[in-house]
Symmetry: C2
């Protein structure tokens, strides 16, 4: 971990049906473009499954400086609009800290 | 991503009931100790949720040089024994590649 003392990690696993990958990625990109301009954003990486029949075809792993910064970003006025395209892909988000390596 | 050209990422989300965190971590450590000695292992990080009521209280994010190395490791003779303590915490594993940042 680099950056300001151990940022929090947002891990958000999405249930995306086969064949809708491109649609999901477009929605994810719009959401990323919005969030990366918000205070406290560190970085993010979208992971796509290469295993067959994954429970979660996409997992976003992003870092934020604090839980307050993340909560403010997703409660901001612009967030709902940009993230609408992702709403139908069931997400499983939570904030994490790294406890073992 | 550092290391040999973009290793694969294993993301494994575990359903762990509240109050059983220490038991889970002990089982995870035993499994990590075994896997880190296997060919193709790169590194790993265990993430613990700080959000209330997460769908997945723990998420392991590990890197492997290839899917073949990972499959060989989890099919190896010693793996079943060391990973037994984790078996009752429902896992959701898949191998991923990073497709967007």
């Amino acid at each position: 971990m680099e950056g300001s003392d151990r940022p929090l990690v947002l891990i958000n696993s999405f249930e995306v049906p086969e064949g809708r990958e491109d649609e999901f990625i477009r929605g994810w990109e719009a959401t990323r473009d919005y969030l990366e301009a918000q205070p406290g954003y560190v970085d993010t990486a979208l992971h796509q499954a290469v295993s067959p029949n994954p429970d979660f075809r996409f997992v976003n792993v992003g870092r934020w400086e604090s839980p307050q910064a993340f909560q403010a970003a997703i409660q901001s006025a612009g967030f709902r609009g940009v993230s609408e395209a992702l709403a139908e892909f069931r997400p499983h988000p939570a904030l994490y800290k790294i406890v073992r390596t």
